[in-house]
């Protein structure tokens, strides 16, 4: 791998060899790569299900697969994408790799725990895969009772157990990050000198710590009810199915911010690096992350406006939902303002960042529409909701993930990827994405319910557009797969700072040495100080 040019330099990738050196590694950078492998596999499995969903929906009659199969497809699509791909994606891959580098530490606070988290993640994933190969689950990713506890004839417990196990991985990762960010910062690196990605990860970790345990008990209760036939949520046995929904969304609404906050952190890094400018309103952006994490816990009831929850609770949750939008707006406006008078390059990561801003805004604004009570009555559980969350999760969170991957790939592997192909695929993803999901807003307002395997004929045109878009989108996702793998062997070597960005991670070599820094860094300036850097360069 490294015998090609120049003297062989030791770095974390070639420090030791052999499978065992990877499977027993405690180096956060290697663990990040282990996660990258797992996550990519789950993404493509989830994507494969999406392809089948879109194929089925190309025609109104439910003719390609049986209804039961279709129900399994969207359930496993949702489960794979949310729990096994998006929630761990940025934290476990980029967060793991970058947090110690960005704060000038040798590793996370608990490296062994970090490795254990990966094994727990894989174990949870194996359970879910096992359930999948045995026939899957058909409850929807939301596992609503009493369907999931009493009526479904599928592998509910195995899948739920997979998610339960995975939850520990998520909790432990969050715990590790919080301790690391509190206790391991380099001398001089005060909170307000931290990169915003670190702030975002910190906020994310808080949600993982405070929310995930509630999901864990909820899953236990579902499993207990299903296994032992005791009534916990089943009204036939004296339970209340709406209580399940409360407990589920207490975790799962904040969880959507687990998915998007890290992505927002990445975007802050990308915008500053490619505008070569300190971010506009640093403190506001930093605190917005925390505000989103905290307020995110107060709004879960907006998923239950028509669930027979009390009308007054609905009003309270709608009111509170409006507050989450404000810190999100602050972020969007600050990113935009950062571009003003910047020095903007159109490198591939920046394309993703710009795409993120637009698509997240659309997704977020439609989210606000959903939290408006009068509208949600009509569009709840229709394709409007499906469009909303794909705009944020695919158009937003995944754009951030891919942008980040393209940005730090040279740091991670020490190689560059082909510019043309990367820009082409970014464009394809953007176009394909909008074609797939924009028609779904229209479908939703028309009244097409979600989780429908067959639908009335008048919805077909828009569905065909959506399926066509998904094809473009799918190919758009395959291309990076190919050139990333290609670049590891044939890519041009990257310098330690190929983008001319500031940040501690760019001050060490690409790829970094096992202990991250040859000299332990100290910090005496703010984040994103491009002006100072330019002056230093002029002096030099």
């Amino acid at each position: 791998m490294s015998e090609r040019q120049g003297p062989r330099r030791q770095h974390y990738l070639n420090a030791t060899w052999g499978l065992k050196s990877w499977l027993l590694t405690k180096d956060h950078k290697r663990i990040a790569i282990l996660y990258l492998l797992g996550i990519t596999v789950f993404f493509f499995i989830g994507g494969l299900f999406a392809v089948l969903i879109r194929l089925e929906l190309a025609t109104p009659a439910g003719d390609m697969v049986q209804p039961d199969t279709y129900n399994r497809l969207f359930t496993m699509h949702g489960v794979m994408m949310i729990f096994f791909f998006l929630i761990p994606s940025i934290p476990a891959v980029l967060g793991n790799f970058l947090i110690p580098l960005m704060i000038g530490a040798k590793d996370l606070a608990f490296p062994k725990l970090n490795l254990a988290s990966w094994y727990i993640y894989m174990l949870g994933g194996s359970f879910a895969l096992w359930a999948m190969f045995n026939g899957g689950v058909d409850t929807g990713w939301t596992f609503y009772t009493p369907f999931s506890t009493t009526f479904s004839n599928s592998y509910v417990i195995a899948t739920a157990l997979g998610i339960f196990i995975l939850g520990f991985s998520s909790i432990l990762t969050g715990l590790n990050f919080v301790v690391t960010i509190h206790r391991m910062r380099a001398p001089g690196l005060t909170w307000f000198r931290l990169p915003l990605f670190v702030w975002a990860q910190y906020a994310t970790s808080l949600i993982q710590i405070l929310g995930t345990p509630v999901l864990a008990v909820t899953i236990l209760l579902v499993a207990a009810e299903r296994l032992l036939h005791i009534g916990i949520f089943d009204p036939a046995l004296g339970g209340d199915p709406v209580l399940f929904q409360h407990l589920f969304w207490f975790y799962s609404h904040p969880a959507v911010y687990i998915m998007v906050l890290p992505s927002m952190g990445v975007i802050s890094e990308l915008i500053t690096a490619f505008a070569r400018k300190r971010i506009f309103g640093y403190q506001f952006v930093a605190f917005a992350s925390i505000a989103i994490a905290v307020l995110g816990f107060l709004v879960w009831g907006h998923h239950m406006f028509v669930s027979s929850q009390s009308v007054y609770a609905g009003v309270v949750f709608s009111f509170l939902s409006m507050f989450v939008a404000v810190p999100s707006a602050v972020k969007v406006f600050n990113w935009t303002a950062t571009l003003y008078q910047g020095s903007i390059s159109w490198d591939t990561p920046m394309l993703y960042a710009l795409g993120f801003i637009g698509l997240f805004t659309i997704g977020g604004l439609t989210g606000v529409m959903l939290s408006t009570l009068g509208i949600d009555i009509h569009v709840h559980d229709t394709y409007f909701v499906v469009a909303h969350f794909h705009y944020i999760m695919v158009g937003g969170a995944i754009m951030g993930y891919l942008g980040g991957l393209h940005f730090w790939w040279p740091k991670i592997t020490g190689r560059l990827y082909p510019v043309f192909w990367s820009k082409l695929s970014a464009l394809m993803i953007f176009v394909g994405f909008n074609l797939t999901f924009f028609p779904q807003f229209l479908l939703g307002y028309m009244g097409m319910p979600r989780r429908y395997h067959a639908y009335p004929e008048e919805f077909q045109v828009l569905n065909v557009m959506s399926s066509a878009g998904a094809t473009i989108l799918g190919v758009g996702y395959l291309i990076p797969m190919i050139y990333f793998v290609w670049s590891m062997r044939y890519g041009e070597r990257a310098s330690s700072n190929p983008w001319g960005a500031v940040g501690l991670e760019w001050e060490t070599t690409s790829p970094p040495p096992s202990h991250n820094f040859l000299e332990p860094p100290t910090v005496d300036h703010e984040a994103y100080d491009y002006v100072r850097r330019a002056q230093e360069q002029r002096v030099a």
């Binding site: 405070l210 409360h246 207490f250 107060l298 009390s310 007054y312 309270v316």
Partner: protein, 96 residues
């Protein structure tokens, strides 16, 4: 960093208080207080838990960060229960 060593006397004192609290809560459970029974029982439990947290778990002599962490834990639990009850308490208000 100096480690604060709590003297044995304090531990025994707290233990005594917890025992008294246990007896008290059993005794109070049989008083006819109506809805106040629940409140008294919970108040005693909270007091006991606070003593354990502050002294057995040394939070009284811990860093501010630890204190914040503990408070956050209970605060979030309060959020869960509070907003949950906002539904259950107002069900059926809008009947007819």
């Amino acid at each position: 960093m100096s480690v604060h060593v709590t003297p044995i006397r304090v531990y025994l004192l707290i233990f005594g208080a917890l025992m008294v609290g246990t007896l008290l809560t059993v005794w109070a459970a049989f008083l006819q207080l109506g809805a106040f029974n629940d409140i008294v029982a919970m108040a005693i439990a909270v007091t006991k838990a606070t003593l354990v947290v502050l002294y057995f778990m040394h939070v009284r002599h811990s860093t501010r960060l630890t204190k914040i962490t503990v408070v956050a834990g209970f605060l979030w639990l309060a959020i869960l229960v509070g907003l949950l009850l906002s539904d259950y308490f107002t069900r059926g208000f809008l009947a007819g």
